[in-house]
């Protein structure tokens, strides 16, 4: 049976979807929240195992009548998404208990959201992209408003919803015009179309604008800081890592499969977007006193670096983007995890950088972990963040975008200021009053330590992974331009 075969190749998503439905039913039968959490983790653990197996063993293949892909970039995207979700759920459970909003509905929603992300990251057809993107977004709108009895929480949900729904309209218009111009929604078939024409370009630009909305590239970033600040901290980690990964993988696939012939034309546009995003993200992050808001702007800045890879428009650039997403998932989930730990010991507004004064000595391990993650985010050597930036920028140089890369390196150097500032407060400032931090749960600190180890590991030996990613694009139409 073909469908059984397809389902087997699509197993991580299937497991996550069945897991979500199971957890939903458990909630319906009033299971204890511990049971719900454990079931979620079991399903996600199995999905993570299958995703890792797929990542290492599965050859690229198209499934479900070419609607989606398995293996290759699809397996890579699936792995990052499931990995990010696995750790997000561990952190979220602890955090939501801490802030007393541990609703049982959160877990099925996280699973459904992950399903949407996997569909988005594996899509090979604009219809699948659309449905996956919307499944992800609808879940994220709801998740942003978990802390619904606080003004900040529901406000951020509303903002996210209005902006997201608005951009959906443009996304759909883009698909429509592309469909009208090329007569198909399948990515390779759109890619085979070379006539150009106004309606084609209209479709391309609307589609890209909508994607920039979703990944929060300047000038379409205005929802990001508020939404990231207002959402529960671990959900912010989820949005900025798994969500962004899924969107970026889909964007890379669209660029690689559906628009290989116009990659050079898009370079100028992407360069301008990358320039604006890097400069604005870093500049505004410097003046933020709220750590969460600072991390929100830093995530905008990271989108800027990712766009340098897209602007390169080469296989090197696209694989650098994929590696960057992996590294960013490790370090950003970790950084938000520590911030969430500090926050849940106090109230939701315990995010001002000044209130971090002296905390580094209270629970030394958490201080060290946060420092590792922030070092990596700043792109300091021997961290995954450094290698990721190095790959993206070298792809930019190869493509001849020297001035853009120079700005990127300068912006990245400037970004060290606001990351190090947090560490200065952690270690070199006296805390005003004694804040006592309760001991973190073992599983919480273990997962953060694991993420930190991965961050360091990929800082030292990125080789194997980058070669693996490179291989995904071997049948790409851009291969000719690769070194």
């Amino acid at each position: 049976m073909e469908i059984i075969n397809d389902l087997l190749l699509f197993l991580p998503a299937t497991i996550v979807a069945i897991g979500g439905l199971t957890v939903m039913m458990l909630d319906g039968y009033k299971a204890r929240s511990r049971t719900i959490y454990t079931t979620t983790m079991v399903f996600l653990g199995i999905a993570l195992g299958v995703a890792s197996w797929d990542l290492l063993m599965q050859a690229p293949e198209l499934i479900f009548s070419d609607m989606a892909g398995a293996g290759g970039t699809a397996a890579f995207g699936t792995f990052i998404v499931v990995f990010g979700t696995f750790f997000t759920v561990i952190l979220t459970h602890d955090y939501l208990i801490g802030v007393k909003h541990n609703f049982p509905q959160v877990y099925p929603l996280l699973m459904f959201c992950t399903f949407g992300m996997i569909v988005l990251a594996t899509a090979n057809d604009l219809v699948t992209v659309f449905v996956g993107l919307e499944t992800m977004s609808v879940c994220l709108y709801a998740l942003a408003g978990i802390i619904r009895d606080k003004r900040l929480g529901v406000e951020s949900a509303l903002k996210y919803f209005v902006m997201g729904a608005f951009s959906t309209g443009f996304f759909l218009y883009g698909i429509t015009l592309l469909y009208g111009a090329t007569g198909s929604t399948s990515l390779p078939e759109i890619g085979a179309y070379t006539d150009g024409g106004l309606i084609y370009w209209g479709g391309v630009s609307l589609l890209l604008v909508a994607f920039m909305f979703k990944v929060s590239a300047v000038p379409f970033h205005m929802w990001t800081p508020d939404v990231y600040t207002g959402s529960p901290t671990t959900i912010t980690a989820y949005m900025s890592t798994a969500g962004k990964t899924a969107s970026f993988v889909a964007l890379v696939l669209i660029l690689d499969r559906a628009m290989p012939f116009i990659a050079t034309e898009l370079t100028a546009t992407f360069s301008i977007i990358a320039l604006l995003t890097m400069i604005l993200g870093n500049a505004v992050a410097m003046v933020q006193d709220n750590v969460k808001r600072m991390l929100a702007y830093s995530s905008i800045a990271h989108v800027g670096y990712l766009f340098v890879g897209l602007a390169a428009g080469s296989v090197a650039g696209y694989s650098a983007v994929l590696f960057y997403l992996l590294a960013y998932t490790f370090m950003n989930v970790g950084a938000f995890g520590v911030v969430a730990y500090y926050e849940k010991n106090h109230d939701v507004h315990f995010n001002n950088v000044e209130s971090y004064a002296g905390l580094g000595y209270q629970r030394p391990i958490m201080g060290v972990l946060l420092s590792i993650f922030l070092f990596s985010l700043a792109g300091i050597p021997i961290s995954a963040g450094f290698n990721a930036k190095y790959l993206v920028f070298s792809a930019g140089i190869e493509a001849g975008l020297v001035s853009l890369v120079v700005v990127g390196v300068l912006a990245s150097a400037a970004s060290a200021y606001y990351y190090l500032r947090v560490m200065v407060y952690l270690y070199f400032r006296e805390g005003k009053e004694s804040v006592s931090l309760i001991e973190p749960k073992k599983v919480y600190s273990f997962s953060l330590v694991f993420l930190a180890l991965l961050t360091l590991y990929f800082g030292v030996v990125p080789g194997g992974v980058t070669e693996m990613i490179y291989g995904y694009f071997s049948d790409s139409m851009l291969t000719a331009t690769a070194p």
């Binding site: 939903m24 959160v106 459904f112 569909v119 309606i199």
Partner: protein, 174 residues
């Protein structure tokens, strides 16, 4: 006859859409949107998309708009809203952006030169039927279709999470 039908439906659709955006009362807006959805299904009929025309009325007018009206009633939101209180910068900017977008879209559409294949009326009629759509839906588009099932479930769970009244959280003490 066909031209007359098109002009009538188009006028109706544009009129109701404008009325929806510009009417001060929320309930009126919702009712105009229902009328608008009816006229959109008129477009579908004239394009031989019978199935979608029915679905449009069932889903939009029958389900989505009822939900909207229900929420408006529950929240007792029928007070009037001044649309243009004072001419502020943001609104001028909004109108400007809109005009630019409109001009661009019309320019793109106006330059449409896709050579369209010729179809007999018979073939065209066969596209929009339930069979044609269902056939493709459950073979080629199986994955998005199943994903839609998850999407709708997720929307219900999400709505429950946000809108349920009793905060009943089990606090765990270990």
């Amino acid at each position: 006859m066909e031209t007359f039908f098109f002009v009538f439906v188009a006028t109706f659709a544009l009129g109701t859409a404008l009325a929806m955006v510009l009417s001060k009362n929320t309930v009126n807006s919702a009712l105009f949107l229902i009328l608008h959805m009816l006229s959109v299904s008129g477009f579908y009929l004239s394009l031989n998309a019978q199935f979608l025309a029915v679905i449009q009325i069932l889903v939009y007018a029958g389900a989505i708009m009822v939900l909207f009206l229900f929420v408006i009633m529950v929240l007792n939101m029928d007070e009037d809203e001044q649309i243009v209180t004072k001419v502020d910068f943001k609104q001028i900017f909004a109108v400007l952006v809109t005009v630019i977008v409109l001009a661009q879209l019309l320019y793109i559409v106006g330059n449409f030169t896709g050579a369209l294949p010729d179809f007999s009326q018979q073939e065209l009629m066969a596209i929009g039927t339930v069979e044609a759509i269902g056939d493709e839906m459950f073979t080629t588009f199986l994955l998005p279709f199943e994903a839609t099932a998850i999407l709708l479930t997720a929307a219900v769970v999400g709505a429950m999470l946000l809108a349920q009244k009793n905060v009943n959280v089990e606090d765990e003490i270990e």
